[in-house]
Symmetry: C2
Subunit: 438 residues, 2 copies
Amino acid sequence: MEPVKIGLLGLGTVGGGTVSVLTGNAEEIARRAGREIRIAHAAARDYDASRIPGLERIDTIGDDAFAVVDDPDIDIVIELIGGYSPARELVLKAIENGKHVVTANKALIALHGNEIFAAAQAKGVTVAFEAAVAGGIPIIKALREGLAANHVEWIAGIINGTGNFILTEMRDKGRAFAEVLAEAQQLGYAEADPTFDVEGIDAAHKLTILGSLAFGIPLQFDKTFTEGISKIEPQDVAYAAEFGYRIKHLGIARRTAAGIELRVHPTLIPQRRLIANVDGVMNAVLVKCDAVGPTLYYGAGAGALPTASAVVADVIDIARALTSDPNNRVPHLAFQPDELTDTPVLPIEAVETAYYLRLTALDRSGVMAAIAGILGEEGISIEAIKQKEPGEGDTHVSLIMLTHRVTEGDMNRAMARIEALEAVQGPVARIRMESLEG
Amino acid sequence: MEPVKIGLLGLGTVGGGTVSVLTGNAEEIARRAGREIRIAHAAARDYDASRIPGLERIDTIGDDAFAVVDDPDIDIVIELIGGYSPARELVLKAIENGKHVVTANKALIALHGNEIFAAAQAKGVTVAFEAAVAGGIPIIKALREGLAANHVEWIAGIINGTGNFILTEMRDKGRAFAEVLAEAQQLGYAEADPTFDVEGIDAAHKLTILGSLAFGIPLQFDKTFTEGISKIEPQDVAYAAEFGYRIKHLGIARRTAAGIELRVHPTLIPQRRLIANVDGVMNAVLVKCDAVGPTLYYGAGAGALPTASAVVADVIDIARALTSDPNNRVPHLAFQPDELTDTPVLPIEAVETAYYLRLTALDRSGVMAAIAGILGEEGISIEAIKQKEPGEGDTHVSLIMLTHRVTEGDMNRAMARIEALEAVQGPVARIRMESLEG
């Protein structure tokens, strides 16, 4: 059988890893795919040839990405440039040229996926993106195929390794956010500009994709609520532990009667849950379905070889089905393109969760009663409360409360009233809480 | 588009669950599959109609399974009868009639899979079996597709929920095997004849399938080493914990330079591993690959609805690709049929692991030296040793040792020599040990 010819855009970390995997495991991959998979044409601006084993087996390497997507010999284009432009133009051109596309570009899919999949559908080609979410974990495939019999109820994922590394170090060593972030940057786990990771934007890109696959809705990154971990303090990590919880930066997608929740934020979860024990840079996605119940998928969420594992799996999928009728393939977003629904994505104010609250108040009688009174008036019931005794000479105490479930809108009102109390100092720290019950 | 017409064999636990899922989630499934999936013809000897919601939506229910596989209207036959015969004959007849087959029958696939897949290949139909391993966890799909870029190094799975429930209860409550087994039988987690579960035969069926998918070898159930959990004593569970280990009944498949290991046995694993924290009836499979590293898949390994989730996912896979060219599909055993290798499966004597040993010896000087001497002469180094002080009036002590890695053959020789020592009472208890390092 003819080899499948790959056009590769980008020879950076993931590009280099993809070359390594495709060449290093070439024989085993051919045994699985049923044909040889050859990188016929690659394009990259600058790259370190000495760090990419197998580079010599690429037929042609140039610096013009558009020449690759226009190369009539190419069957599948792998886009590993990242960013929005020219990645978007390249992917659309590849589709226009009738080529299948594999990409690891979560930002591109989250923001331009609707346009890209519509173009692919019209042209009868596949755009695969397993590597865009949770690196090497085959979670896209699980949601799109493995769990296809189910009504998905909710998803909760640790889908940013940098954030999970920072929170794990804060917990294990009692260290502060900024200090651990600096270390993560030195270790290469965090970028020089860490905003995308620690403020949750990267996780929000991934959650947008997971939510679409789970619920059959178009990609709507702009409606995904995003809150980072930069305001988590060591004392919150410690207090959470006292209550039996861990703080994880979760992407949560949930279907409710009112609509769909898409939200990324720090979350207290019971420490006995398996996902609460996913530490360091590792990722995990917990999916709750009506038939199968909870299932969890764990593995490396980033890195050259783990991400390449997902990229190449997509290539093999396409190679195995290369001659299949375009109308009889697995749909891009799990649901058939004409079966996506316009179920609304809820604003964060309409989302219901439990809460962890921490505030500083004057150590005098009546303060706790006033706070409890406000919560009661706003319909918020308290599950647990702890007062931390003041240090010597300190006139203030810390109050930590866990509440039952309430909408964010109600909590916002209650918090504003509490913060307005004369005895309360500074803002109320608030972290959402989920039981993640199977 | 024409509906896909299902012939369903069996309306027991999983058959009933499959009817519930296919009818209860019919609308969402059609949105994913791109066409309606209808149960056109079912056959069952006896069943409880009142316990199967959706049964009224089956077009025809009879008692002749062969009439279903011969029904010209049927596109896909779902075999949920279990056992070897007539399941084997029915599946082969369905294939002969050009129908795709979905089965949850692990025993059938493990023992007759080679014959069945060869027939399916010749006829150009698909035989899917996601439900045969680890219930609702999409582990077959992960190995066959999601991880297809990788060289699989090893797999370690908790793939029998009954055994895991028993070991979890023994650990949490310090109870004895027989007592927990009786409770599991009352709860319906264990069969009246628990042999298949507690002696590891069920797990060995599943491991045979996983090993074939991972390494591209034919199914070889007869070469899978199987040891049950019935000899695990509460004291072993407690001693393991003192060393920081938990005892899990694992199916392990490993590729070594000499060949392939396929073995099911109780195993000490470090308690800090995520898989060591998979408790109760839940299943999990840890897969170590060269590119992606370790990934883990967790969920319900049995039960009507979880198993049905996997059965229906297979049906949707087939429905989505119904018109695809038979030569361009995902191969049954992950590797193309002419690409399976005859890499030998190793006898257990050639398998290398670390060991936990427990023995009872006279409490007198020189005994420990004699035992350590034998181990040294057989080339076995000791990682840790503990002597449990004798009770008052007791002349014997318990010795617990953890060894470094050694072949089973060498360990057998050392154990025979130790058991022959006059000061040693009764047999040496031996449990294999794995670090499961990523």
